[in-house]
């Protein structure tokens, strides 16, 4: 990572693409997220790590309103997330999400999985959507599988299709929730490679992952969460070489 990018990450020049301000969330009585503040600039790559149950998934799921926050503000691309369904749909169309278990639509062929969003949400003509889908399938190196169904693909292939499906919506931000943790070891690399390509093209990414190699080589910022709080965030270099908090040190010693 170079100087300029680091600067951009630390001193926001214009309005951030994602602003989370004093956000809280409860599940029943359980205070799962506490006072979350997060600003993400366009083009920034952020890796979120932390122990299981610390609220990483909940945080990124709040950003496209798969979960509803209870206090504070979340503003994505200038649109605040409230109960207004129109706003929610607007935000979701701008934010792509990749899940741990892929969540492809098993009854649709690969190409139909990809064109569904463009056709129904963006109202793209079918022919155009098909062409775009093929382009993205080529990008994730899986174009020859376009006519197959998800159940006929390996986990790694399915996850790459899932990434392509999100990309077809031309999102401004991509969220990844442990995209490689349901994969067999030999398939992790093929998915990470696709994500690295994406990062190099300047996609804004929030990635929950325990792949620290990915964090070191790609992230502008690494965030550590514990017990529903952002404990520490820093450039990967500082984060890994010189962690500030005891909890971070403990966590790093466990996973590295």
């Amino acid at each position: 990572m170079n100087e300029i990018e680091q600067q951009a990450a630390v001193t926001p020049a214009d309005r951030p693409i994602i602003e989370v301000k004093s956000m809280h969330k409860w599940y029943g009585d359980f205070h799962v997220l506490s006072d979350i503040n997060l600003h993400v600039q366009l083009g920034e790559r952020i890796v979120i790590c932390g122990p299981s149950g610390s609220g990483k998934s909940t945080l990124i799921r709040c950003i496209n309103r798969l979960e509803e926050h209870k206090r504070g503000q979340i503003i994505v691309n200038g649109t605040e997330l409230t109960n207004d369904i129109k706003n929610i749909e607007k935000v979701r169309a701008e934010v792509g999400m990749v899940f741990q278990h892929f969540n492809l639509f098993p009854h649709l062929s690969i190409i139909d999985n990809l064109t569904l969003g463009p056709i129904w949400v963006r109202k793209t003509p079918k022919k155009e959507a098909d062409e775009m889908a093929m382009m993205f399938l080529e990008k994730v190196h899986i174009a020859e599988q376009a006519k197959k169904f998800p159940g006929q693909l390996s986990g790694g292939q399915q996850q790459r299709v899932a990434i392509a499906r999100s990309l077809c919506m031309k999102p401004k931000v991509m969220l990844f929730d442990e995209p490689t943790s349901a994969l067999d070891p030999e398939m992790i690399k093929e998915v990470l490679d696709v994500m690295i390509d994406l990062a190099e093209e300047g996609m804004t990414m929030l990635v929950v992952t325990h792949e620290m190699g990915f964090a070191k080589s790609v992230a502008d910022r690494v965030m550590f969460m514990d017990e529903g709080q952002i404990v520490e965030q820093n450039t990967p270099h500082v984060f890994f070489e010189n962690p500030q908090h005891e909890r971070t040190k403990l966590f790093l010693s466990q996973i590295l």
Partner: protein, 363 residues
């Protein structure tokens, strides 16, 4: 060190006792002492039952004779069917006009067969059905092109059975899907309404619904307004079947993983799109077997309309049997009916299995 080349691997045939007829017999009929015993018992039973039945049904039987010729034979008197076929099939439909229900049924059958092919599931199919329905209605009711008017009260026999069953199923299915979606709704009013409806209908037998539609319902109508009896029975069957379909579909909806909803949300699909494009296609596929079960019972339950004095094919057969000339040949008549019902039901369940296979996408 070098590994031996792969081609040196030998592929042997399995031992002769494991394959072919002998292998199949051993594996399926005589693979344990109790299976062998069962096989022997079943064979003896078949030997005792099948030849006499065969003799009765096919050798000593008569096929198309006057009733008198049946008096002094030991076999089946199948003559009851061909000699009464027009009444069994068409009931009280006027004699010279029975080509009309016949043609209407042929039309319906043609449309059903045409609709079996999934490639035909397009907008045009709806248009064909609309045209077909209008044509069928016109044929049955008449009043145009010089056809004599035949009131619905005289519609009977197989056309009535088919009509009640087909429209019952076709209308009940979507209604059931809406009820299931309503029951899952976040809006309390809609949810409660659906729950109350479903549970109330499931709490009463179809017979009582038919009674209500034919006896009680007219009492609530204003003076002078009448609603056709066949239509009322049809509505009762639809409402009844829909409640059962709704519960089956709800099961399918609950079986859908949350991830599917989330994936649909995350690409920005709205509720209607999510349901129509993602959830229902999968959920309805899961519930094909139980739905077909319900549709089959709905088909067979149409015979309950006898209790409100409609003459379906079961009732017309019974009327035939009450003719002194033909009393005593009920076995033959009921076997004929059973075969008729079986063909329809078997075709339905066979088709559902084919559909399931076609919709299977590996997983």
């Amino acid at each position: 060190m070098t590994n031996p080349p792969v081609s040196s691997r030998e592929y042997l045939k399995p031992p002769i006792t494991e394959v072919g007829v002998i292998g199949w017999l051993r594996g399926n009929l005589f693979n344990s002492w109790y299976n062998s015993l069962l096989t022997v018992v079943v064979l003896i039973l078949l030997w005792q039952l099948v030849p006499p039945f065969f003799r009765w049904a096919f050798i000593d039987s008569v096929w198309n004779t006057p009733a008198e010729a049946c008096r002094d034979i030991d076999g089946a008197c199948w003559s009851i069917i061909p000699r009464n076929i027009s009444f069994i099939l068409f009931g009280f439909f006027p004699d010279g006009e029975q080509w009309r229900p016949g043609l209407a049924m042929a039309l319906m059958l043609g449309l059903v067969i045409f609709s079996r092919n999934r490639k035909h599931w397009k907008k045009s199919l709806g248009i064909y059905w609309s045209i077909g329905l209008i044509a069928m209605g016109t044929l049955m009711y008449g009043g145009v092109f010089g056809m004599q008017v035949v009131e619905t009260a005289r519609w009977s026999g197989l056309p009535l059975t088919f009509m009640l069953a087909l429209f019952g199923m076709v209308a009940a299915y979507p209604l059931g899907v809406f009820l299931a979606l309503g029951r899952q709704s976040r809006m309390p009013a809609i949810k409660t309404l659906c729950v109350v409806y479903i549970e109330m209908i499931r709490g009463v037998p179809l017979i009582s619904l038919l009674f209500m539609s034919s006896v009680m319902f007219p009492l609530f109508l204003p003076e002078g307004v009448t609603i056709d009896k066949v239509l009322r029975a049809q509505v009762a069957i639809i409402l009844f079947t829909a409640a059962y379909i709704a519960e089956v579909v709800r099961g399918g909806l609950q079986a859908m993983p949350r991830g599917q909803f989330e994936a649909a949300d995350s690409i920005g699909l709205n509720y209607n799109q999510t349901m129509r494009l993602i959830i229902l296609p999968q959920a309805l596929k899961i519930v094909i077997p139980p739905s077909v079960g319900i549709l089959l019972s709905a088909f067979k339950d149409t015979s309950l309309v006898v209790i409100i004095a409609l003459y379906d094919v079961l009732k017309t057969t019974k009327v035939t049997l009450s003719n002194p000339k033909w009393t005593g040949y009920s076995t033959e008549a009921y076997i004929f009916l059973a075969v008729l019902y079986f063909i329809c039901c078997y075709a339905m369940s066979n088709y559902s299995r084919k559909l399931e296979k076609e919709l299977h996408t590996g997983r």
